[in-house]
Symmetry: C2
Amino acid sequence: MENSKAIPYKIYLEENEMPKSWYNVRADMKVKPAPLLNPGTLAPMTAEELGGVFCADLVEQELDNDTRFVPIPQEIRDFYKMYRPSPLVRAYCLEKKLNTPAKIYYKFEGNNTSGSHKLNSAIAQAYYAKKQGLKGVTTETGAGQWGTALSMACAYLGLDCKVFMVKVSYEQKPFRREVMRVYGADVTPSPSMTTQVGQKILAEHPGTTGSLGCAISEAVEVAVGNPGYRYVLGSVLNQVLLHQSVIGQETKAALDKYGIVPDIIIGCAGGGSNLGGLIAPFMGEKLRGEKDYRIIAVEPASCPSFTRGVYAYDFCDTGMVCPLAKMYTLGSDFIPAPNHAGGLRYHGMSPILSQLYHDGYMEAVSVPQTSVFEAAEEFARVEGILPAPESSHAIRVAIDEALKCKETGEEKTIVFGLTGTGYFDLVAYQKFHEGQMDDYVPTDEELAQFRARLPKVD
Amino acid sequence: MENSKAIPYKIYLEENEMPKSWYNVRADMKVKPAPLLNPGTLAPMTAEELGGVFCADLVEQELDNDTRFVPIPQEIRDFYKMYRPSPLVRAYCLEKKLNTPAKIYYKFEGNNTSGSHKLNSAIAQAYYAKKQGLKGVTTETGAGQWGTALSMACAYLGLDCKVFMVKVSYEQKPFRREVMRVYGADVTPSPSMTTQVGQKILAEHPGTTGSLGCAISEAVEVAVGNPGYRYVLGSVLNQVLLHQSVIGQETKAALDKYGIVPDIIIGCAGGGSNLGGLIAPFMGEKLRGEKDYRIIAVEPASCPSFTRGVYAYDFCDTGMVCPLAKMYTLGSDFIPAPNHAGGLRYHGMSPILSQLYHDGYMEAVSVPQTSVFEAAEEFARVEGILPAPESSHAIRVAIDEALKCKETGEEKTIVFGLTGTGYFDLVAYQKFHEGQMDDYVPTDEELAQFRARLPKVD
């Protein structure tokens, strides 16, 4: 009989301990995230206007700054049971390797075919589209995880799924398209000639490797132009952070079960869906003044929205067809160097996280690509899991913080989000192994150029 | 509060419920598997002779037909905790899709970077090599799962790892090599010019796409020729089935927890490691006359060792450098058509399973490749997991049995082994989608040719 108080390598919740509601952090924010603006009138987007792009229930969730807990429909909870609860892993082997007094935990969201946390929101968005009687949905995907997740959700519910995939990822991840095809999705590399906005972008930037911003523009155009279709987005939006709160709630429940209180919570940040989900209940406690935590967003040095962007209204997409959001942004026509963390190549950031960062509730750091892959490989060799490049940004900073504890002797408890696996990122790993990986960081002059083109609002 | 007696989607054991011993099914076999024979003298291999190829503790396990429970060393149990217990999943969604009264469960071994159950034996074999003070190990790999698993185990323990990978898999799975490189392994496509046996095979069969049998010969040659190295094998051997019994023991413990008794247990069979592990404790009950189960081995129609092979002494490898084993075999120089389930392209079969099959304790069926991918895709779309082609053989037959229940109205309980994920099998899925997959089955005349060349023993 082992010590029942010992913390296991993996903490799994029981099925009946899984969250029954999503937590809406906006309910506890004193300063709410700024509303989306109509790109024509610059007035806040109404529910009716948003309803042309998003399905009705999701519009309601997008605009709801007050309801603290939103019940998760039973059908979605059933789908969650297919691949959730995800384990909260105690990184005993990594701690030993680093010889640190820090206690390291990671919430691992990669144990599903999409390879990431994206499925949490994909099934929710597909569910509400189905409920509304729609024929299908359109979307963009960067690394391909969101597209795969949406394909899986649509296959499960019998919805049509059209995916615009950032061209650089489409080319670097030839097998991602094939996975989406297993799930019956239609995948187009973006920018493409199949949309007006794609044609325009290609005319202005011939040979571009694309960006999430471009792909969003194309997907929105197709959704708005096809009756029975709506657009869905895998990150940035308030509704997505709401759905992703299931990550944080499971994490907190697992920690609470063993009486563990984290000191530092770390997540990678592209559009903010993983980070926003992971930190949600902890941020809630912090906002209500009940507890304090260090919360750290990690972004690639090649696309440093938080650390070198500005807090301003900007377009969510490169084609400027979407509403404007107030967020930390590099400018909607910023196209980052082709680094390999496709999921972090977004010029902007979740408006919720942007407001929280602006109000001092969280920190942000940016890290160069090579150091991220070094951390990824070190992690893989002791913890077994081959991490996605996106997730490895969080690993890098978790290791750095654990090494600081080694110097100071502090026994801090570090929790980070391991958002996914790197099985479709082997081209990037190969470049890393062969010394062909670059650590390009945009210059201040470059960033200033994009900043100068931000829309003039208030 | 949900009904506490309801069977959850996934049954996880607690860490302290994980098996502390492996179960050795040979202890309960009235007719023991036939011993390995020295290829020169045709006398049973002694421990001393085996010690030149395998490390000492593994030789002991290989020869031990009597010890029922072998304690799992603490270090291995700790490694198991990194990725085990694996979930026993109730396939509620598949049942609903098939509209069958059958109850379907699968033991999912794919939630680790090797993508399969292979890690269970890899860590054991690497551990004993390390314990003996060796420098490194050599091995072969087909689909790449075993090679990845061994690389992971060696990286964890700091051992050198040399992998010979069947050429057809090496070419079809370009990223597998990269994963092994993350874990620091040295990977060579087989047959290669780096060994004498490889040179001989290439001279006799120029342009061959290789087979597990060829790769074994090369790995053994390198192990025997390099001081401080031993050879390790991912399947077939008694020791491997012993280690893999952890799958069956977890499965049985999970079923027992909910009072579930299976009627049918199904596993894919290449060399037999997964099937042998999955069925071990159930077969034990059957051998002791305590319970009865239908146990079904599923093999590809292109490589039908059980269903169209003969039970005879044969070489384990194409180069005929290894000991002879009594097993169901197609002949050691049989090289199957390049079907995509690399892990099932082996001419022989575990001696333990061969004896059990010969004695009527289990059944075997062979299935054509296209029908396997149809089952794989049907499964993926409702259960979420993208299965490996190998595992999908078991899915095919589980679905077939569930459909029979639909016709008869019987509420049978079916358990199958889902050995791994298909993230590195997308070339095969692509061929399936594009109608380029063939269902080649060897003719009786072809099989007779190989059979005629079997060694003459007893």
